[in-house]
Point group: C2
Chain length 422, copies 2
């Protein structure tokens, strides 16, 4: 027995790609945690016929649960609740209590916009108080309420803004109606490991061998993907197949000793964050222009070990703020290992840090040459004890790829330097 | 008459949200440019039955064109071509020329990975040379070829990595087979405008009035969405309805004079980039820790006007690198308008720039207080002529929302300062 779900993401702005959907992936994670198998995510515009066709498709696939996102706003192009009611064969009824709640929220919200007449806005929001008869109402986090419509499939209707959808999903998941719909769920094991420096084909080769070497290999659901220059391998299996997974891990460890950097799903960011505990790091960035500093501070609490950084985009910035010798730049060029090392040393000094990373490269599209093509990036990690790593790599892709990948390479060099693998 | 398309994005890593799909949105834009109406985007894992069900669903919706992305790799979980062949009722045939091309590419690629045996990898890639009989082959950009399978619907099979998919789509679009499939396309007008500082409900109110005031309003397909704190309004219409759009614009200009900042779809980033031509800008960032500098340098050629920046995450960084008076921080706190102004002044001096932006705030989750809750961010824009803008706002959302939105607010303050709207 198992429970299967589908997700319907509505909104012309999402379908046409003007806004990237964050709800499908986020809901997928939640379903996985619950042990509900996600079969399909479908996106369509604000067209009733398309929304209804997708609901029908998912129902035909035999899913136990459908979650919709978007189309709950006050504008005329928002009509998900209406479509879902029809699909579930329930009439729309005005919920007086809900109408009052919404009026309340809107009045408070409008205080921030003196130019707008609350009365008109409340009228605009009235349609948001219409819900399918017999549905469970999910209180609004923004102005739009959600609903859980029991039945098979059970349909959960959530708003589009992630900040509203996420807490409202938690509320939906707690309802008896939803729990009943996913009663058949199976709790799978899922393990994630990560490698850096292995091509996907090389891994494919290894997995084909593992298939012969590992008993029960066929009961492991393995998916691999290249992500930000790293290889992510996710394996799903039922608890009784733990032995097979252990066997797979032995093969992977044996074949990719140096490339396998995470066996518990931890990102290099997590590992670096741990390694930086009690330390003080400074960055010196040219082509990445702050992306590495921003990445190092994504985590709450990073202020404990991130001192700061310099974005030295111009040569003047390199000399003035990082004390890089202008003659050194003249001799080797701004994109060179000596300059990367001088930038790292400057960052150490400037911030009184014990760890520094410098990045200088050619992100493109312009600025490349035959000996230093677009994608050439020099890295230098310097530690207060005088140890460190300096490397030059040529990264593939466009300007934003090169900039983003550079931060990944820097994180790995940082990890190696801090674990003494310089 | 018209042409309609659907997109099937495959890959368990995308379905489960471990990787964000970039292909659906990108292909959606290309179809829009072509005048092809996109009905649905569907995502599923690497399961043949799910992929086939989605192809069937789209065919049942009567689309003229289906584009698939992903599942062309060498690993066993990549099987899109096989499924599409079956769906189109064509047998898989090994293309000898293609096999040679792939072997070639792999051999060159493997040179970068000394540890790996090319022979094994070439064998691993052989399955990528199997194509549906009668299909047009799209040469690989990575190692995976694509195909265009004529018929109704015509199916275009593309690889998952955006860097490979994008040029291969251009090749597919140029084929007679694809042009024949979308012969019925209609070229719509599409106009995009942007507002900053208007709630979505306020706009809904305006649009309801426009419905009464503007002749032909009902022939305009208007979609609105809140994006990075800005309101984006996209209107699609057939060329003969240009008058109606002009009428809508009059109403919007009249109602939202100060909030309407873009009538040609330009992003605030484009406008700021233009305004910075011939100038030199420096940043001083605390809570955003480099995100603004990174945003200012996203565009090629930004090195002409971006001098650099300081990520002053610690107070020491603020005093040492930006010359902010420690007493000022002690008196007003690091998150205060006086400190933001001192940071901006410091950035101007340090980089000898004529334009500077400083951001200091509380991104959370910790660090908030009753008078300065999480989301409190102080901004200061300083120009060499002594003019500038200093503002404090309280931004909603989690740590990453606050950090990202702060860069949007900063861009708008920059735009205002540079257009003398201080």
């Amino acid at each position: 027995m198992s429970a299967r779900a589908g997700i319907v993401v509505t909104g012309t702005e999402v379908l046409t790609g003007r806004v990237q959907d964050r709800n499908g992936p986020w809901l997928a994670d939640r379903l996985l945690e619950l042990g509900v198998e996600l079969g399909h995510i479908t996106l369509c515009g604000d067209r009733p016929t398309d929304i209804e066709a997708q609901l029908r498709f998912l129902a035909d696939q035999g899913v136990d649960l459908i979650i919709t996102s978007g189309g709950l706003g006050p504008t005329a192009d928002d009509m998900t609740v209406e479509v879902v009611s029809r699909f579930c064969g329930r009439e729309l009824v005005l919920d007086a209590g809900l109408e009052a709640t919404i009026a309340d929220i809107v009045t408070r919200l409008m205080a921030r916009f003196p130019g707008v007449d609350p009365g008109a806005v409340i009228a605009a929001n009235r349609k948001q108080a219409l819900v399918p008869a017999g549905a469970v109402i999910l209180d609004p986090v923004g102005t739009a309420p959600g609903v859980v419509v029991p039945g098979s499939p059970t349909v959960v209707v959530l708003p589009g803004p992630p900040r509203e959808l996420q807490p409202m999903w938690e509320a939906a998941a707690a309802t008896d109606e939803l729990q009943a719909a996913i009663a058949g769920r199976v709790r799978y094991q899922q393990e994630t490991i990560r490698m850096f420096g292995v091509p996907e084909s090389g891994l494919a080769d290894t997995l084909r061998d593992a298939e012969k070497l590992v008993a029960g290999f066929d009961r492991l659901e393995i998916t691999t993907c290249l992500r930000r220059g790293e290889l992510e391998i996710v394996t799903r299996y039922e608890p009784q197949d733990a032995q097979a997974y252990a066997g797979l891990m032995d093969v992977l460890r044996d074949r990719h000793t140096h490339e396998l950097f995470s066996t518990d799903g931890a990102f290099v960011d997590d590992q670096v964050a741990d390694l930086l505990t009690g330390r003080s790091i400074a960055t010196a960035e040219s082509c990445t222009a702050g992306l590495l500093a921003a990445r190092l501070t994504e985590r709450a609490g990073s202020s404990a070990y991130v001192a700061g950084g310099v974005v030295a985009y111009s040569n003047k910035g390199k000399t003035e703020l990082l004390g890089v010798d202008a003659a050194l730049i003249a001799r080797h060029g701004a994109v060179s290992e000596p300059v990367a090392e001088a930038m790292a040393a400057g960052a150490l000094r400037r911030f009184g840090a014990d760890t520094a990373v410098a990045i200088t490269g050619i992100a493109g599209p312009g600025g490349g040459s035959t000996d230093k093509p677009v994608g050439t990036v020099c890295f230098s990690v310097a530690l207060a004890d005088g140890t460190g790593i300096t490397r030059t790599t040529t990264l593939p892709g466009d300007r934003s790829d090169v900039r983003e990948r550079s931060t990944t390479v820097a994180m790995h060099l940082l990890r190696r330097a801090l674990t003494g693998q310089g």
